[in-house]
């Protein structure tokens, strides 16, 4: 069970080698298979997540949520996806069509790229990059451009305002996000995510870095554009913000990407603060799934409880609270590490 996926990959590569393919082509095929699997899993996962979010919001509001299609309504999202796929794809006449069409694709590509470095289990990581954490942050910053493209090309005031808000918000929150992770990096002594997981074999970093976790969590919510920081959509003010003019599957792609990001950010939180794939009894990939889902539940819980924060409060929260707090956290961590070293740990 533990090595289920690794064994599958190994069997596949052995089989390909037996067929007479060179190592280069075998690796290429394997890479294609891995990415296809990841994309499939992401899509299926988003379908489950949308259902879960609707169910959770229903339960929170003492409703039932979707319950008509399939047991507990679990096929509802599939039906919705089919509906979105068959819907008319409207492109307003005054849009910048090239950018309008590429924006959702760019968004989803960037979101999927995030998964490359997350260890999904013991020895299960697509690219075990030495600077994995840094990769996550820098590639994650590209989502800004996708929203900006969508907002600008729609040629709609709501969209542009949403995009502007989103950009301001994401650029501001990248700083506390990166700073909050520095404490973890300092303790683990590496930017490699597998190494960070390995460093938590004794104690989870949530215990050592609670402040960093809270800052990360808040900054990540903002990065994800999720409530209470859902500025770019903000349906009460901006109707649908940057996505106002999008319909059908293009619109759905944005949501696919947002949920993909949600999973990635939650998986990162699990990896950095909750010991990643480590855990007793169950196979390692199971553990990361459980931890990621629990963190996502908290994200959903927050979204359905809190009102939306105001734009300027959002900015001042970032610059006046989160940045100083995360800087102090780095300082305290550094001093702490020196003290522990001095004590001979």
């Amino acid at each position: 069970m533990e090595n289920l996926f690794i064994n599958i990959a190994r069997t596949l590569s052995d089989w390909l080698l037996q067929l007479g393919l060179s190592h280069f082509w075998t690796d290429l095929v394997l890479l294609v298979v891995q990415w296809t699997a990841i994309i499939l899993i992401i899509t299926l996962n988003v379908i489950i997540l949308v259902w879960l979010e609707r169910k959770i919001s229903g339960f929170i509001q003492q409703r039932l949520g979707p319950n008509r299609l399939g047991p507990f309504g679990c096929f509802q999202t599939i039906a919705d996806t089919l509906k979105l796929l068959t819907k008319e794809d409207i492109i307003p006449s005054q849009t910048d069509k090239l950018i309008f069409k590429t924006a959702p694709m760019f968004f989803i590509i960037v979101s999927v790229l995030l998964y490359a470095v997350i260890p999904m289990g013991k020895d299960m990581v697509v690219v075990d990059l030495n600077v994995g954490l840094f990769y996550f942050i820098s590639v994650g910053s590209l989502t800004t451009i996708a929203i900006l493209m969508a907002g600008w090309s729609s040629n709609n005031k709501w969209s542009l305002l949403g995009a502007m808000r989103s950009v301001a918000q994401m650029i501001s929150y990248e700083i506390p996000l990166a700073f909050s992770l520095l404490g973890v990096v300092m303790i683990a002594g590496s930017l490699n995510l597998s190494a960070i997981v390995a460093a938590q074999s004794n104690i989870w970093f949530i215990v050592l870095q609670p402040v960093a976790f809270v800052t990360y969590f808040i900054a990540a919510t903002a990065e994800l554009n999720r409530g209470p920081f859902d500025m770019p959509e903000a349906e009460q003010e901006l109707t649908a913000g940057a996505y106002t003019e999008y319909t059908g599957m293009r619109w759905a792609l944005f949501f696919l990407a947002e949920y993909t990001n949600l999973v990635a950010v939650s998986a990162l939180a699990a990896t950095l603060f909750f010991g990643g794939w480590q855990g007793p009894l169950l196979p390692s990939w199971m553990w990361i799934i459980i931890k990621t889902y629990l963190i996502m539940l908290v994200f959903m819980w927050m979204k359905w409880t809190f009102p939306r924060i105001r734009m300027d409060h959002l900015m001042s929260l970032s610059w006046k609270v989160l940045v100083p707090v995360s800087l102090i956290n780095i300082l305290v961590t550094g001093v702490g590490i020196e003290i522990f070293k001095g004590m001979g740990w």
């Binding site: 808000r165 209470p228 009460q236 003010e237 109707t239 409880t305 809190f306 009102p307 734009m311």
Partner: protein
């Protein structure tokens, strides 16, 4: 060199998630900052006042109930009292008490809707659902008594249409017992939330001077520190028999408007409790002529405290069974006019908060 920027227009409505109906707010923006706000009304204009001229006095009651559909009994009550004043009808004691009970229940329903819609306008969806859940109990009671949930047209000239049914009393008693728990929940989920406080405190400040100058009434006025409530200032019906407080807040901002309404829910519950205790047995409908023809030239202006403010009816009789002229002083309309003043200089998101806390009902303001 300083950055010069050019103002631009953002149209909120008439089709927009948070305009509470067909309202068009044209916001002149400088970035995220509001320079000016212009309100365009009339999207739900039904010419109610003109309709009144072709309906008999009795026939207009269901239309009156449709003015402020969030608290349907209050506008209907105001109208029937105006007609009663015009033609000198008397209302039996029991009917007076029933009117108070049903009217105050409607007021609670309206304020619950206010709290819920404020919550959802600030994107706290769950707050709305909890408020609607509790409001549903009031709707059930309206259905029990009058047969309709939303637009009950329960008031009649000289009384009410039905007596309170047996099952009403346990329902209303259990509701009144639960009111403090409900308020606790709203306070925990909505009022106590720091994000909401940040978005409401100091936002949309309505000074008492502006409020008076613009004729703002109701909870919006009381939130600006002026203790003016028609139930106390010019008691109509039997309001002089009840002991209740008039909640007043000093700051005049969105938070004050929210707090005043939350307290009013409590006070309305108090009034209902007293009314139920004092309620006598007896007739529910006074003696009303089959065809009501007030003498020609008689006119009356009658004002009541509706959930939104001073709701006044001006009626002019021409000797027939239909009024020659009916004018409604709709509090929503007048309260809404301060929106530009309290929104100027704030952020785009504050317009939404301001609209929500001014609590307009478009059925009433457009008529």
């Amino acid at each position: 060199m300083f950055v010069e920027s050019e103002p631009y227009i953002i149209n909120i409505g008439p089709q927009h998630p948070s305009t509470h109906g067909g309202m068009h707010v044209e916001a002149l923006m400088d970035g995220e900052e509001v320079v000016n706000v212009t309100i365009h009304l009339g999207y739900v204009h039904r010419s109610v006042e003109k309709i009144a001229e072709s309906r008999t006095y009795t026939q207009f009651i269901p239309y009156a109930a449709r003015l402020d559909y969030m608290s349907t009994n209050l506008p209907a009550w105001g109208y029937v009292e105006a007609v009663e004043k015009l033609s000198g009808l008397t209302v039996p004691e029991r009917a007076q008490y029933i009117r108070v009970v049903m009217g105050e229940l409607s007021r609670i329903a309206s304020h619950m809707m206010f709290v819920g819609s404020l919550a959802i306008d600030l994107a706290a969806t769950t707050g709305l659902l909890y408020c609607l859940r509790d409001r549903e109990r009031i709707m059930d009671m309206l259905e029990m008594t009058s047969g309709q949930r939303l637009l009950s047209s329960y008031m009649r000239l000289g009384g009410v249409s039905h007596d309170l049914p047996e099952e009403f009393f346990p329902a209303v008693k259990s509701f009144l017992t639960d009111v403090p728990a409900m308020l606790d929940e709203y306070n925990g989920l909505i009022t106590g939330n720091e994000i909401l406080q940040a978005r409401c405190n100091g936002i949309g400040v309505l000074t008492p001077e502006t409020a008076l100058a613009y004729g703002v009434t109701g909870p919006n006025l009381r939130a600006s520190g002026i203790s003016y409530d028609l139930r106390r200032a010019d008691p109509y019906g039997i309001y002089d028999r009840f002991d209740f407080n008039i909640p007043v807040a000093q700051k005049g901002d969105c938070m004050a408007r929210l707090m005043v309404r939350l307290e009013e829910i409590e006070q309305s519950a108090r009034i209902i409790k007293q009314a139920l205790e004092q309620m006598p047995e007896g007739e529910i409908l006074g003696k009303v002529p089959k065809v009501l023809k007030p003498e020609k030239g008689r006119e009356v202006y009658h004002r009541t405290e509706s959930a939104k403010g001073e709701l006044g009816y001006y009626l002019l009789a021409d000797g027939t069974d239909k009024p020659a002229r009916l004018h409604v002083r709709a509090p929503s309309f007048i309260n809404l006019m301060v929106l530009p003043i309290i929104s100027r200089g704030s952020k785009l998101q504050d317009i939404i908060t301001n609209i929500a806390t001014l609590d307009p009902v478009l059925g009433e303001s457009d008529r």
